[in-house]
């Protein structure tokens, strides 16, 4: 029997560009053409001023650890506990949930505000997830 798999996102027309981005090795955000507000998750209008003219752009992929838990139980399918579920604050402003890779999953190693950078993890031909690892240098 196959191992239970991690929950896999299914893009919608409004989010396809984001998932096309991760597949191409880009973390994409959206910026409002009118008020310059940068936001996440993706949608074809600005949640700050309701303007429908917005532009997708490649974000720096850099940010810091805003908060997290280290989940012990129950574990989600496809995960081996303990594993950290983190919220990353991107340098452009928006926050997103992710996992922290290349780092011990311990309170000692996971310091709030530590610098992080995006690391893409391919799930299959359609979906690549944006993960984060401690920033180098």
């Amino acid at each position: 029997m196959a191992e239970p798999a991690r929950a896999k996102p299914k893009p919608t027309p409004e989010t396809q560009d984001f998932w096309d981005g991760t597949k191409a090795g880009e973390l994409r955000l959206q910026r409002c053409d009118a008020c310059t507000h940068v936001y996440f998750p993706p949608r074809p209008f600005c949640p700050s001023c309701a303007n429908r003219k917005v532009t997708s752009f490649k974000a720096s992929g850099k940010g810091k650890l805003y908060s997290y838990v280290i989940n012990h139980r129950p574990a989600a399918p496809g995960f081996t506990p303990p594993y950290a579920i983190a919220v990353v604050e991107l340098d452009e402003g928006p926050r997103m949930m992710s996992n922290i890779v290349d780092c011990p999953q311990t309170p000692e190693a996971l310091e709030l505000d530590m610098r992080l950078e995006v690391a893409f993890e391919k799930l299959d031909d359609k979906i690549t997830l944006p993960m984060f690892r401690p920033a180098k240098g």
């Binding site: 989010t15 838990v69 995960f79 949930m97």
Partner: protein, 379 residues
């Protein structure tokens, strides 16, 4: 909304609480409803307004044989019942109905006839949270707490004290699930669930239900029980995605709903004799104390650790033992409301002497929604 125009005239929980393997979720609704009807001295045919969450109003109304002229199926998580009270009070004042029944029930432990909760893979949560290993409330609700602690200088020991103090209240309550005293060391040595939270900082998982009956304050004086008036109300929602909250230093939904209720009630924090803050997890009372304006966030941990909310303290909080020790079927808001009503009636197992004003604050989802009801027993 005008103050004290609507009152609770019936309130009851299910006959049993805890593990109820002999009843479906729908029957738990009926059990709570029939107990509340009896408490109010009414017949089911007297009910012309109905509200519930998760289950649909049509499901429960049909099962009970109620023919309503007003329904509310607001379902925003565990505080849905606070919102139902607010909406029902407005509906009664507007003349849309006269006597409203609000029911909650959940077969949270036995899972009999419980509706499945799933996250579609193409929802925003399914795309931007589920892939990162969130799996049920324990993996999600505590996500903001490390940031809250760092910003406000709150310690692990202070948050552990929330569970310790609530167990003191639970010990006074014959219907609470957990009654044995616990210490900070017990809490901090209990099984790790999702760091920084351990087992004793997470709510129970139980079966049960509750129901309320509301009518106009003018009619309320003719009912058998002491009326409990609706003094102030508030509600709001923020986001279903915990990762997308505006900040983890506070809850926007709390900061809207709570102050709205205080303003409507025309009271200050000094007027509050009794307080319920929905405690699905141990950090919620700290958020609540700060977001409702009782004190600066920095003082919330020390306030609880110093014993101000324990039996005999100056601000009795979660006097039934809370979701941590009394019961938590999944949507605890109804039980917080039931305890506020008992306190205002003067019949609570751990009765706060001469309590006149009770604030009951609820959360829905993971800080996704909020509702606040302020009760009084004086008109």
């Amino acid at each position: 909304m005008r103050r004290n125009q609507v009152a609770v005239v019936g309130a009851a929980e299910t006959t049993e609480l805890g593990v109820i393997p002999n009843m479906s979720q729908l029957q738990l609704h009926a059990d709570a409803a029939l107990n509340a009807i009896a408490d109010a001295g009414l017949k089911l045919s007297d009910i012309d307004g109905f509200a519930t969450a998760v289950e649909t109003p049509q499901q429960v109304c049909h099962y009970l044989g109620i023919k309503p002229t007003w329904v509310d199926g607001t379902s925003v998580g565990g505080c849905s019942f606070m919102l139902h009270v607010r909406h029902a009070a407005a509906a009664i004042e507007a003349g849309l109905c006269k006597t409203v029944l609000i029911t909650h029930a959940e077969s949270g432990k036995s899972m009999i006839g419980k509706l499945p909760r799933s996250i579609p893979a193409d929802s925003l949560q399914g795309q931007f949270e589920a892939p990162f290993g969130v799996y049920g409330p324990p993996s999600m609700f505590p996500i903001p707490v490390l940031r809250f602690m760092k910003t406000h200088g709150i310690t692990h020991e202070q948050i552990a004290m929330v569970a310790v103090v609530q167990r003191e209240w639970a010990a006074k309550n014959p219907r609470s699930m957990m009654k044995d005293p616990i210490t900070v060391a017990d809490v901090l040595n209990s099984r790790m669930i999702a760091y920084p939270f351990r087992l004793l900082q997470c709510c129970l998982v139980t079966d049960g239900g509750g129901a309320l009956i509301l009518t106009s304050a003018d009619r309320a004086k003719d009912f058998p029980r002491k009326p409990v008036y609706i003094l102030g109300t508030g509600e709001s929602v923020e986001t279903p995605m915990v990762s997308q909250m505006e900040t983890f230093d506070s809850s926007r939904a709390f900061k809207v709903a709570g102050p709205l209720a205080f303003k409507e009630a025309g009271i200050t924090h000094k007027d509050v004799d009794h307080l319920m803050i929905y405690d699905a997890f141990a950090h919620l009372p700290l958020y609540g104390l700060g977001d409702l304006g009782f004190m600066p966030y920095e003082e919330t941990g020390k306030f609880i650790a110093d014993g101000n909310t324990r039996p005999g303290g100056k601000l009795p909080l979660n006097t039934n033992g809370g979701g941590l020790s009394y019961m938590h079927s999944g949507m605890y808001g109804m039980y917080a409301l039931q305890e506020s009503v008992r306190q205002m009636r003067g019949i609570a197992p751990a009765q706060v002497k001469d309590a006149r004003i009770s604030v009951c604050h609820g959360v829905g989802g993971m800080f996704a929604a909020s509702g606040t009801i302020i009760f009084t027993n004086e008109r």
